[in-house]
C-alpha cells in the first residue's frame, strides 16, 4: 500500500483514510468490529506490523509481558519449542531464535515510522497547528452533532454541516475564525485540493498530509465518517461528511497560518520539504518475527491443551427422554451456565445458537418514537415488531433535568434539590438501590406486553410489521436444523436470550447480546418461541421434515448475565405444564447460583470464602452500584468458538473462554447449516475477539483507556475532559484481565465440507486464510484433528500428547 501518487486523487485518499478510522457508531449501538479492518486483506502478523508502522499502534503485548507469561507458566515451554522447530529445521538457528526471544531488546518505542509531512509543514510555518485547531474544531463539530447535552442548538435544524457553518458565519456578528479573510474563503466553499494547494503546496504530499491530519483525531474523524455512512446511528438526524469536516479543518489551518504570516503567505515548494518522499519504511524484521512467535506460543499453549483433551472416541449416546431442552446464545457467558444446568438437571440438554435466534427485525417498545435493531449488525431487517399496551413507567430523576442548568431555577434547585442529592448520594454509596437511570436487561420488554409477531398486512416506514407463516417457518426451521434439534423434542423447550444490567455506565450497550446489536435478546426469544408454538408453523415444519410433538411447548426467557437471574415469559404456558415448569425453574435457579459462585472468582474484591448465596448477592449488587466500573467481565478471555455436538466439549473445562454453537454434522451432509453458522459466527465472534485483542494490546489507540475520568459527549460518545478527541474502543475496565488471543474455531465436520464453504465465500476465506481467526476441524468419524494452514487443512498432533509420549518412551 502506498500513499505516494503523482496526482492527488481526492476520493481515493478519503476512502483510504476512512478505512483506517475506527468504525464505532454512537454509544447506544455497540457493535464490536476488528479495529484493524483496514488491513484485513493482509495476513494477521503482517497487518499487526503494518498497523504499528502506519499508526504507531501496539498490536502485540510487550516482550516483558510475554516473558512474564512464560515464567508464570501461561506460555508452555514445549509449545514454544514446537513453534521454533517448525520455523527452522537447523538447530543452530533454533537456538539463536530462542536466545533472541528471551534477550531481544526493543530498540525503540513503537511510533509511526515515517517522515511526517505534517511536522515538516508545521516547521515550515513555525506553528503548532494541532494546538490551535483541535479545541476549535472539536467544539464546533461537537456542537453540530450534539444530541441533547446542550440546551441550545446553535446551528439551524436539518442543515448540512458546511451550509450550517456558512449560515452561522453570516448570521452572527462574530466569526468562527480569527481572520475575517478565512470566512470569505469559506463562503466560496473551497475544495480539498484547493485548500491543500494553499497550505501544503506540493501535490505529491497531499494524501499523506491528510492522512496524518485525520489521524491526529481518529475518534472524531471516525465518528463523522460513521454518521456519514449510517446517519441512523443518531436519533436527531445530522448531515455531515468527512470531507466537509476536512475542509473546515483546512480552513482553520489557513486561519492559523494567515494569522501569523498574513493573507498572502507562500505555500512550501518541494525544495522546502526535503526528504519526504517515502511514506512507509519497513523495519528490520526480527522484532516482528519474535513478537509473532511469542503471540502464537501464548495462543497455542491454551489451544493445545484444549485440543489434546478432546475426546478420542464418542460414546454412543442412548436416546434418553429429556425433561426439557434449553436453547442459549453462543455467548461465552452462557457456556458456564449451560455446564451447571447439565450438572444440576442431568435430564436436560442445552443448545447454542446466535442469540437473535434467527429472527431479524427492528423492535419498537410501547410508547417509543424510535426503532432499535435486534439482530447482528450487518443484517438489515425488513421487519418490525412492536410492543403493545404495557406502558413501562420510567422513573424520572430531577438531577438530569435542565432546570438545574437554567439561571433562576438553577438557584432554586440547588437550594432545594441539593439537600436531597446528598441523601441520595449517601444512600447510593452505602446501600446500592434502584436508580431511575439504571439499565435493567429485564426492562427491554414488559413481561405481559403483547408483540406484533403476526403479519396482518400492515407496514410502517417501509418495514413489514410481523412475519407471515411462511417467513416464520423458514426461520424456525433454519435454527432448529442448524443446532441439530430436529427430533426427540422434550415437553418444554426454553429459548433463553441474554442481556446485562448496570448503572452509571456509558458502555452499557457493550454488555448486551452482540448478536442483537447490543440489546437484550428477550424480544427475539419471545418471537422465536411464539413462532415455534404457532400451530400453522408446526404444520409447515412437519412438511419440511421437522415434527414437533403437540405436547411440546417453547418458553422464552431472558438471562441477566450481570445478576445471574432469569425471567420467564410464561404467561401463556398451558396449565398442565405449570408444575413441571416450576420444578425446572428451581433447577435453573440452582444452576444460576453455581454460575455466580464460579463467576465470583474473577473479582478480586469478593471474598472467595463466602457462600454461594452471598456471592450471588454481591454480584447482583454490582449491577446497581453507582461506583462499580466493572459490572461484569463480559467477553474477557474469549479464545474459542466450538461448533459441534455437546459430546465434543462437555468434558472440557472451558472457563468461560468459548463461544459454543451447537451443530450436528450428521444432519448436515451438504454443509448448508454450517455455512449459515459460520457466516454469522466468524464476523460476530471474530469482531468481538479482535476488538478485545487490540483494545488490550493498545489501550490508548484502540482501547478507550480507563473509564474513570470519562465524560459523555453529545449523547453519542465519550471523551476525556472537555477538549479531547473521542475515545472509541473498549475501556480498560472491560479488558484489563483479558489474555489476548485470536479466536480458535473447532468445527466438528469433514474438512472437505468446510473447505467448500470457505471457497464459496471469499469474505469468510479472508478471515481464515489470513489467520484473523484460526481454524481447526475434527473429523466426525476418525476424530482426527486438522488445522488450517496456508491454503488447506493439515493433520494436527497436540504437542502436549507428543511430549507425554516421548517421556513415556
Amino acid at each position: 500500500m502506498t500513499l505516494n501518487h503523482d496526482r492527488f486523487e481526492e476520493n481515493e485518499a478519503l476512502s483510504l483514510i476512512k478505512h483506517f478510522l475506527p468504525a464505532q457508531a454512537a454509544i447506544k449501538d455497540f457493535v464490536h468490529h476488528n479495529p484493524l479492518h483496514a488491513l484485513q486483506q493482509e495476513h494477521f502478523h503482517d497487518a499487526c506490523r503494518q498497523a504499528s508502522l502506519w499508526l504507531g499502534a501496539k498490536t502485540y503485548l510487550s516482550f516483558e509481558e510475554y516473558r512474564k507469561l512464560y515464567f508464570n507458566g501461561k506460555i508452555s515451554k514445549d509449545v514454544l519449542q514446537h513453534i521454533v522447530e517448525r520455523k527452522y529445521s537447523d538447530v543452530a538457528q533454533q537456538e539463536q531464535l530462542l536466545f533472541q526471544l528471551f534477550n531481544y531488546k526493543d530498540p525503540s518505542e513503537i511510533q509511526p515510522n515515517f517522515a511526517s509531512v505534517r511536522a515538516a509543514i508545521e516547521k515550515f510555518y513555525g506553528i503548532n497547528l494541532r494546538k490551535y485547531i483541535q479545541p476549535r474544531l472539536y467544539r464546533i463539530v461537537a456542537s453540530y452533532l450534539d444530541q441533547g447535552i446542550h440546551l441550545e442548538n446553535i446551528f439551524p435544524q436539518e442543515m448540512d454541516f458546511f451550509d450550517a457553518l456558512i449560515f452561522l458565519e453570516s448570521n452572527s456578528k462574530l466569526s468562527l475564525f480569527e481572520n475575517r479573510e478565512t470566512s470569505k474563503l469559506m463562503a466560496q466553499k473551497p475544495s480539498i485540493p484547493a485548500m491543500l494547494e494553499k497550505i501544503v503546496g506540493v501535490d505529491a504530499h497531499f494524501t499523506q498530509y491528510l492522512f496524518e491530519q485525520q489521524m491526529t483525531h481518529p475518534g472524531w474523524s471516525g465518528f463523522v465518517a460513521v454518521v456519514e455512512s449510517t446517519p441512523k446511528t443518531l436519533i436527531e438526524p445530522k448531515k455531515i461528511s468527512l470531507s466537509e469536516m476536512i475542509i473546515f479543518e483546512l480552513l482553520l489551518e489557513w486561519d492559523a497560518i494567515s494569522g501569523v504570516h498574513g493573507n498572502e503567505f507562500r505555500a512550501p515548494q518541494a525544495s522546502d520539504l526535503p526528504g519526504y518522499t517515502h511514506f512507509l519504511q519497513d523495519e528490520p524484521h526480527e522484532k516482528w518475527v519474535l513478537l509473532s512467535i511469542w503471540q502464537e506460543a501464548l495462543e497455542w499453549t491454551y489451544f493445545d491443551r484444549i485440543l489434546g483433551n478432546l475426546p478420542k472416541k464418542l460414546a454412543v449416546e442412548s436416546v434418553q427422554e429429556k425433561d426439557f431442552q434449553a436453547v442459549f446464545c453462543i455467548d461465552d457467558r452462557c457456556v458456564s451456565l449451560r455446564k451447571h444446568l447439565a450438572a444440576v438437571h442431568p435430564k436436560s440438554t442445552s443448545y447454542g445458537t446466535p442469540g437473535f435466534f434467527g429472527v431479524e427485525f427492528y423492535y419498537q417498545p410501547y410508547g417509543a418514537q424510535q426503532y432499535t435493531k435486534s439482530c447482528p449488525d450487518p443484517v438489515n431487517p425488513n421487519y418490525l415488531i412492536r410492543e403493545l399496551g404495557q406502558k413501562k413507567a420510567h422513573k424520572r430523576d430531577a438531577h438530569f433535568s435542565n432546570y438545574s442548568h437554567s439561571p433562576v431555577l438553577g438557584m432554586v434547585t440547588s437550594m432545594t434539590l441539593g439537600f436531597w442529592s446528598i441523601i441520595k448520594l449517601a444512600l447510593g454509596t452505602f446501600k446500592p438501590a434502584d436508580h431511575a437511570f439504571a439499565i435493567r436487561a429485564t426492562n427491554h420488554v414488559h413481561p405481559n406486553a403483547d408483540l406484533t409477531i403476526d403479519y396482518t398486512g400492515e407496514s410502517a416506514d417501509g418495514l413489514q410489521i410481523g412475519f407471515t407463516v411462511e417467513e416464520m417457518t423458514t426461520r424456525v426451521f433454519n435454527v432448529l436444523k442448524s443446532i441439530g434439534l430436529t427430533e426427540n423434542f422434550a415437553p418444554i423447550v426454553y429459548i433463553v436470550g441474554h442481556g446485562a444490567s448496570s448503572v452509571n455506565n456509558p458502555y452499557y450497550a457493550g454488555y448486551d447480546c452482540g448478536a442483537c446489536c447490543g440489546r437484550p435478546g428477550s424480544v427475539n426469544a419471545r418471537a422465536f418461541s411464539y413462532m415455534a408454538n404457532k400451530p400453522e408453523v408446526r404444520k409447515a415444519l412437519n412438511a419440511r421434515g421437522i415434527k414437533i410433538p403437540e405436547q411440546t411447548v417453547f418458553v422464552a426467557a431472558l438471562h441477566d448475565t450481570t445478576c445471574d437471574e432469569i425471567v420467564y415469559f410464561d404467561k401463556d404456558l398451558p396449565a398442565e405444564k405449570r408444575d413441571a415448569h416450576a420444578l425446572y425453574k428451581t433447577s435453573f435457579k440452582e444452576a444460576l447460583l453455581r454460575n455466580a459462585d464460579e463467576r465470583a472468582n474473577r473479582f478480586d474484591l469478593i471474598d472467595q470464602e463466602l457462600g454461594a448465596h452471598k456471592k450471588h448477592q454481591l454480584l447482583a449488587e454490582k449491577s446497581k452500584s453507582l461506583f462499580e466500573p466493572r459490572p461484569e467481565w463480559n467477553h474477557t478471555d474469549n479464545a474459542l468458538c466450538i461448533v459441534g455436538m455437546p459430546a465434543v466439549f462437555e468434558h472440557l473445562d472451558l472457563d468461560k473462554r468459548a463461544f459454543l454453537n451447537s451443530y450436528d454434522p450428521s444432519k448436515d451432509p451438504d454443509g448448508s447449516s454450517l455455512k449459515m453458522i459460520l457466516s454469522a459466527a466468524i464476523p460476530v465472534c471474530g469482531g468481538i475477539n479482535l476488538e478485545y485483542f487490540f483494545s488490550r494490546t493498545d489501550q490508548q489507540k484502540y482501547g478507550a483507556g480507563t473509564k474513570l475520568p470519562h465524560n459523555v459527549l453529545g449523547l453519542f460518545a465519550v471523551t476525556n475532559g472537555v477538549e479531547d478527541d473521542l475515545r472509541p474502543g473498549l475501556p480498560s475496565q472491560m479488558i484489563e484481565i483479558h489474555e489476548p488471543s485470536r479466536l480458535l474455531f473447532i468445527i466438528e465436520q469433514k474438512t472437505s465440507i468446510i473447505l467448500e464453504i470457505l471457497h464459496e465465500h471469499p469474505k469468510l476465506m479472508e478471515w481464515v486464510r489470513n489467520q484473523w481467526v484460526l481454524f481447526t476441524a475434527i473429523d466426525p468419524e476418525t476424530r482426527k484433528i486438522y488445522r488450517f494452514q496456508g491454503d488447506g487443512f493439515e493433520l494436527y498432533e497436540p504437542v502436549a500428547l507428543h511430549t507425554e509420549k516421548s517421556v513415556a518412551l
Partner: protein
C-alpha cells in the same frame, strides 16, 4: 478547648501521614484508613459543632505557635471557628467522607490508587486548615496546599498530555490568587501594623482604620476579590473549571463540583467585615458575581459535554453566591453554598448515566425541533458562549503574552552575555549594600531596588521563553531569588538573619532540583529540553517526587523557610512603593508558574508517542 481544636487539625494530618506508610498494593488498607479517618472526623465535627452551639455559638479564636518572630514581624498560626467555619466544615467532611467511601470500589485496580487517596487526604488537610484559619498567614498555608492538591489530581493521569497541560493551567490561575493573598497580607501589614486576626475584624479599632483609609481598603478588597475570583472560577477565570475535569470522576466531583471551587466564597465571607462599609467594593463584587452568573449560564447552554455543562452551571451559581455575600445575605449564601455543593457533586458522580437516561428519554419522547427563526443576536450570543466569552484568550492576553514578549526580548541576547550582565548588576548591588548604606540617598537605593527587581522579572521571563535546557531554566529561576533578595536588601536594609531565612530554602531546593536534573541528563544521555513533555515519571518515580518537593520549595511553598521569607520580603516594602510591590508580586506569580511547568514538562506528559500527543510544543 485548644486540645479539641488541635485534634481537628491533627487527625487529617496524621491520617495523611500514616497513609504514606501503607504499601501501594494494599488497596483495602488504604481505603479503610481513609474511610475510618473521615468517619471519625465526621462524628467529631458533628459533636464539636453541637457542643459549640450548646455553649452559645460564640466564635472561638485560638492563637497558636509562632513560626518566625522579629520585633516588627510575627508569623504565627491562628485558628478561628464561627458559623461560617461550621457550615464549611460539616459540608466538607460529609462530602469527603462519602466520596472516600465511593472511591474505594470505583478506584479499584486503577494505577495510582494510593496516589489518589493520599492526594485526597492531603486536600482534606489543606481544606481544614483553610476554613479554620484565624489569620491571613494561616489561611495562606492552607490555600497553597489546596492549589497543590488540585494540580496533582487534575494531572492524575500524568502521562497523558491534556490532563497535564490543564493542571498547569489551573495551577497558573490559582497562582494569581495566591499572590492576591500575599498582597493582602502586605497591605494589611502596613495598614494595621499587625498580623490581623479574623476575630478582630469586627472590633471598632479596626473598623475605624478601615474607614479612614478608603484607598488602602479598596486595594486590599480588590486583592481579596482577585483571589476569590480565581479560586471560585469566576469571570474572567471561569474557563479553567471545565478543563479541570480531567481526573477520575469522584475527584472532579469533590473538588470542582463542591469544595475547592466554593472557597472563593468562603474567603469573601471571612473577610466581609473588611469591605462591608465600602459600597463600591460591594458593588464591584456583585458586578463580578452577576457577570459570571450571566456568562456561566449562557456558556452552560452550549456545552456538549456533561461535565462541562455542570461546571459552568456551578460557576454561575457561585457568581450568585458572590452577589448574595456582597449584599450581606450571609445565611442565604451559606445555604446556597451547601445546596450547590451537594447538587453539583452528585450530578458529576452520576454524569456517566446521562447517556442511559437521556438516550432513553430521547428514544421515547423525541420530537423534531420546530424550525425557529434564529435571530442574529441570539446566534451571536451563542457563538460567544461557544467561545466561552473569550475568557481563555483574555487570560492569555493578560498573563502570558506580556511575559512572553519580555522573554523574547531577553532572548535577543546570548545566554552568557545576558547572565553576565545580570551578574554585574548583582555585584554592583552587593557593593552598594556592603559599602553604600547610609551614605547614599534613599531615592537612589530605592531606584536600585526597582532596577534589580525588574532584572529579576526579566530572569523569569527568560526562563519562560528559553525552552532549550531544563537545567539552565532552573538555574535562572534560582538566580531570580538572589537578585530579588538583593533588591529588597537595598530597599530596606534586610539583615543577615532575614536573608538567611529567605535564601536557605532557595539554596537547598535549588540545589536538590539542579542535582536531579543533572543526574537525569547523565542517565538519559540527552539534554532535557522543555519544548516537549519527557514523561520521566514513569522511570524515575522517586526522583520525580523529590523534584516536585524541590520545585515547591523554590516557589516559596510552605515547606521551607523561603515561605516565611517571602512574607518577610514583602514586609520590607513600604506602603508607598506600589511599583516595587507589583513587580515582586509578578515575579512570585510567574516564578511559580515557570517552576511547575518545568516539573510538568520534565516528568509528566506524554510518553506514548503518537499522533495525538504533540511532542513539540512550538506555540503560536
Amino acid at each position: 478547648m485548644s486540645t479539641l481544636i488541635h485534634l481537628i487539625i491533627l487527625i487529617p494530618l496524621l491520617s495523611f501521614l500514616s497513609l504514606l506508610f501503607i504499601p501501594k498494593h494494599k488497596e483495602k488498607a488504604i481505603g479503610n484508613l481513609a474511610l475510618m479517618s473521615l468517619g471519625i472526623q465526621l462524628l467529631y465535627a458533628l459533636a464539636f459543632t453541637g457542643f459549640w452551639l450548646f455553649n452559645g455559638a460564640v466564635p472561638i479564636n485560638l492563637r497558636d505557635i509562632s513560626l518566625f518572630e522579629e520585633p516588627n514581624f510575627d508569623f504565627y498560626i491562628d485558628f478561628f471557628f464561627d458559623r461560617i467555619t461550621a457550615v464549611f466544615l460539616l459540608t466538607g467532611v460529609l462530602l469527603t467522607f462519602v466520596v472516600v467511601a465511593y472511591s474505594r470500589l470505583y478506584m479499584h485496580k486503577e494505577e495510582g490508587f494510593k496516589r489518589f487517596y493520599s492526594t485526597i487526604l492531603f486536600f482534606w488537610f489543606a481544606y481544614v486548615i483553610t476554613i479554620w484559619s484565624g489569620n491571613f498567614g494561616t489561611l495562606f498555608i492552607g490555600w497553597e496546599f489546596l492549589g497543590l492538591s488540585s494540580f496533582l489530581l487534575i494531572a492524575f493521569y500524568r502521562t497523558r498530555y491534556l490532563p497535564v497541560k490543564n493542571a498547569v493551567k489551573v495551577f497558573s490561575v490559582y497562582r494569581i490568587g495566591d499572590i492576591g493573598l500575599l498582597m493582602t497580607i502586605w497591605a494589611g501589614h502596613h495598614l494595621l501594623h499587625q498580623n490581623v486576626l479574623f476575630a478582630q475584624l469586627h472590633m471598632d479599632l479596626i473598623t475605624h482604620i478601615l474607614t479612614e483609609h478608603a484607598g488602602a481598603t479598596l486595594f486590599i478588597s480588590m486583592m481579596i476579590l482577585i483571589t476569590a475570583l480565581a479560586k471560585s472560577a469566576q469571570w474572567p477565570f471561569a474557563s479553567w473549571l471545565p478543563r479541570a475535569m480531567e481526573g477520575p470522576t469522584p475527584s472532579s466531583a469533590i473538588f470542582y463540583g463542591a469544595l475547592s471551587v466554593h472557597l472563593g466564597a468562603f474567603l469573601l465571607l471571612r473577610t466581609h467585615p473588611i469591605w462591608e462599609n465600602h459600597i463600591w467594593v460591594r458593588g464591584i463584587i456583585s458586578a463580578f458575581g452577576l457577570i459570571t452568573f450571566i456568562v456561566g449560564n449562557y456558556t452552560a447552554r452550549v456545552q456538549s459535554t456533561i461535565k462541562g455543562k455542570i461546571a459552568y452551571s456551578s460557576s454561575a451559581q457561585i457568581g450568585l453566591i458572590f452577589t448574595e455575600i456582597a449584599l450581606g445575605l450571609e445565611v442565604l449564601a451559606l445555604i446556597h453554598f451547601m445546596g450547590n455543593a451537594f447538587l453539583r457533586s452528585y450530578q458529576l458522580l452520576i454524569s456517566p448515566s446521562v447517556a442511559t437516561y437521556q438516550i432513553r428519554e430521547q428514544f421515547y419522547n423525541y420530537q423534531k425541533p420546530v424550525k425557529a427563526n434564529i435571530s442574529k443576536w441570539s446566534t451571536t450570543i451563542n457563538m460567544l458562549s461557544l467561545k466561552e466569552w473569550n475568557m481563555e484568550k483574555m487570560q492569555y492576553f493578560m498573563l502570558f503574552n506580556p511575559l512572553k514578549k519580555l522573554g523574547k526580548l531577553t532572548m535577543a541576547l546570548n545566554l552568557w552575555v545576558y547572565v553576565g550582565m545580570v551578574f554585574l548588576l548583582y555585584v554592583l548591588g552587593f557593593l552598594i549594600a556592603q559599602h553604600g548604606f547610609g551614605t547614599l540617598d534613599r531615592v537612589i537605593e530605592q531606584s536600585a531596588a526597582l532596577v534589580l527587581s525588574f532584572v529579576a522579572l526579566t530572569l523569569v521571563a527568560r526562563a519562560y521563553a528559553d525552552k532549550s535546557n531544563a537545567k539552565v531554566t532552573w538555574l535562572l529561576l534560582v538566580a531570580v531569588h538572589f537578585v530579588l533578595d538583593m533588591a529588597i536588601t537595598l530597599n530596606h536594609h534586610l539583615n543577615w538573619v532575614e536573608t538567611t531565612v529567605y535564601l536557605s530554602g532557595i539554596v537547598i531546593s535549588g540545589g536538590i532540583g539542579f542535582a536531579i536534573l543533572y543526574y537525569l541528563e547523565r542517565k538519559t544521555r540527552a539534554t532535557i529540553a522543555l519544548s516537549r513533555y519527557s514523561g520521566l515519571v514513569n522511570k524515575y518515580k522517586y526522583l520525580a517526587f523529590a523534584f516536585l518537593l524541590a520545585a515547591l520549595g523554590l516557589s516559596g511553598f510552605p515547606i521551607t523557610t523561603t515561605f516565611l521569607g517571602e512574607d518577610l520580603l514583602l514586609s520590607h516594602i513600604e506602603d508607598s512603593q506600589w511599583l516595587l510591590a507589583t513587580l515582586v508580586a509578578l515575579i512570585f506569580i510567574f516564578n511559580g508558574i515557570v517552576i511547575i511547568r518545568i516539573y510538568a514538562r520534565v516528568f509528566l506528559g506524554s510518553q506514548e508517542k503518537n499522533f495525538n500527543s504533540p511532542n513539540h510544543l512550538t506555540t503560536l
